[in-house]
Amino acid sequence: MNNGAIVSLIDVHKTYRTGEMEVLAVRGVSLEIKRGEFVALMGASGSGKSTLMNILGCLDRPTTGHYILDGADVSRLDRDRLADIRNRKIGFVFQNFNLLPRTSARENVELPLVYSPQRLTHSELREKADRVLVSVGLAGREDHYPSQLSGGQQQRVAVARALINQPEVLLADEPTGNLDSRTSVEIMAIFQQLNERGITVIMVTHEPDIAAYAKRNVMMRDGVILNDHLVSQRADAASQLQNGTPRPLSAPGTDLTM
């Protein structure tokens, strides 16, 4: 099964029990995502895509079935082991940014390193965080609080935070849900750039326009995969931005690999 697949789900079920009711949120999903893919996970609310996303993000465990992440079965790990996996292998981007309030952009980006096994000095932390912030086009905003940043800038801080531990997989849950269309395109440009540098991106969205920036779309309905196809006419965020108001995302030649 380890044929270049970074993520593989094998017949995953997830059942919630609320009182007497049993809710079958995910019922039999098998999915393989290779290194370097850019997958949009789509579906209406209640389709099970959020549950699947939580399992992919190691925030939750499947009731039955297996989840192989980077060659290791993580479907039966305990809370703390899952936390370690999240820290090392997964970067999260949320719809509502989830930055710590009254905390500078730099400190927000440093957050995953606080819980990382590698011990860095204060100045190493700072240097590393600043480098990632520059790479998402936030040079000069290191000391700003989230309240002093626009929605797009806040989401870029969140992307920087997701990237700081050099994760295998970037998981984005409705990353453009709280952004206007232009800012959404900016964030998609960053995602596409990152993906070209080899980072696997999995993104939940219900907007077909946004899903068009991905390489592959997976549609879910009622807890199962309805269809799974490659995007034929892929949208290119960078060229859209250039054709529209020309405003570069980041300085030319910025290195996203850190």
Binding site: R79, A83, R86, L111, V114
Partner: protein, 405 residues
């Protein structure tokens, strides 16, 4: 394992909410400050009582006449007049280890000199009295055994009485009229201050007991006998011997009550210090209640903080925080609040007791142990009241926490 960074995280969170942190710590500051000040006052009072008890003299046995029940009426100490001069002489003669005996009679009366007069206490004593009480003279000389034998009209006076009668004049050698009998003042006592009962011990005239009985008070009974023993080891034995000697002299048959009361100074000291210990405990307990209230304040704020920061906790867990990291973070916040509050409280408490000693003239005594206990207790309050909110935070489900509005 990651306590260092977690410590920084916790301190940063406290700094983010400065006013709230200060107000929360204020509860502990007041609690610890109150404990320190109250225990300081209690200990100060205790030390003062102990010093006063010690000033009664060392290895002293007091024998009071009375508590007679012959007619069914108990008259209390010194009431019945059962102690005779001969009893004191017998003790002096027959009880081993006795180094001093003072026959004591007490009265209050008007004393006068020139156109000044003053109502004071008259003590009749033997010449041993000043040694027994360890009460040296500030000036002049005490009366002698010869004065006692001859019932001479001599006396020594306390500082208060002297200043009331003579003002700033030197009283030594002056004549003091006591019940119209002229007494020559031979000496002035060193001041002792207030007794445990608040009586001014320097408002006194001391004269040979023979003179007091013959010329001032009248009667042939002693109120009490003060006995000093050489060796504290012999105190118990001497006390028993005195009891059996006096029972024999007073012809008390076995099974009947004594017609006198014997107390030693240690018993009196124990009773007095027990009282002040109870007072210290009581003050400390009342102050302790405010410390507990401060702890509840911390718990309250930590619970609010956990609810408020549910999303933050979710984010931290999503990026790799273990439950123990979150637990440690909130515990450190609580313990920092309580122990910083504790340190400030200790400083405030010491300050408050200094102010009390300086302006209200209350003796206070801050011991290292009370400071250490107050500090450890405040840290313990932080752990105790911080644990529940911290555990609540650590037990949050990251998915729920991230979605929390």
């Amino acid at each position: 394992m990651r306590v260092g960074p977690t410590f920084n995280v916790a301190l940063r969170a406290l700094r983010r909410n400065k006013l709230r942190s200060v107000l929360t710590a204020l509860g502990i500051i007041i609690g610890v400050g109150a404990v320190i000040a109250m225990v300081g006052i209690g200990n100060g009072a205790k030390a003062q009582v102990e010093a006063q008890i010690a000033s009664l003299g060392q290895n002293v046995i007091l024998i009071f006449s009375g508590s007679t029940t012959s007619s069914g009426i108990r008259t209390g100490w010194g009431g019945a007049g059962t102690l005779k001069i001969e009893d004191a002489e017998a003790i002096r003669r027959e009880v081993p280890g006795v180094i001093g005996v003072s026959e004591e009679v007490v009265s209050t009366t008007q004393v006068a000199a020139g156109n000044q007069n003053w109502f004071t206490r008259i003590y009749g004593e033997s010449a041993d009295y000043f040694d027994i009480r360890q009460w040296p003279l500030a000036d002049g000389a005490p009366f002698t055994s010869q004065d006692v034998r001859s019932a001479n009209k001599v006396c020594v006076i306390g500082r208060t009485t002297a200043s009331q009668i003579y003002g700033n004049e030197n009283p030594i050698g002056q004549i003091l009229r006591i019940k119209e009998v002229p007494f020559t003042i031979t000496g002035m006592l060193t001041p002792k201050g207030l007794s445990t009962q608040g009586v001014d011990q320097d408002d006194i005239v001391i004269m040979p007991y023979t003179s007091a009985m013959k010329r001032v008070i009248g009667g042939t009974n002693l109120r009490n006998i003060n006995v000093q023993i050489a060796d504290p080891q012999q105190l118990e034995a001497a006390q028993q011997q005195i009891v059996s000697l006096l029972r024999q002299r007073h012809n008390i048959r076995p099974g009947r009550d004594d017609d006198f009361t014997v107390r030693n100074q240690q018993e009196i000291a124990q009773a007095a210090t027990a009282t002040s210990r109870v007072m210290t405990l009581l003050l400390g307990a009342i102050a302790g209640v405010s410390l507990v209230v401060g702890g509840i304040g911390i718990m309250n704020i930590m619970l609010v903080s956990v609810t408020e920061r549910t999303r933050e906790i979710g984010v931290r867990m999503a990026v790799g925080a273990h439950g123990t990291d979150i637990l440690t973070q909130f515990l450190i916040e609580a313990v920092t609040l309580s122990s910083v509050g504790g340190v400030i409280g200790i400083i405030c408490g010491i300050g408050a007791s200094k102010v009390l000693s300086a302006y209200a003239n209350w003796p206070t005594l801050i011991s290292i142990s009370s400071v250490a206990i107050a500090f450890l207790f405040s840290a313990a309050v932080g752990i105790f009241f911080g644990f529940y909110p911290a555990r609540k935070a650590a037990a949050l489900d990251p998915i729920e926490a991230l979605r929390y509005e």
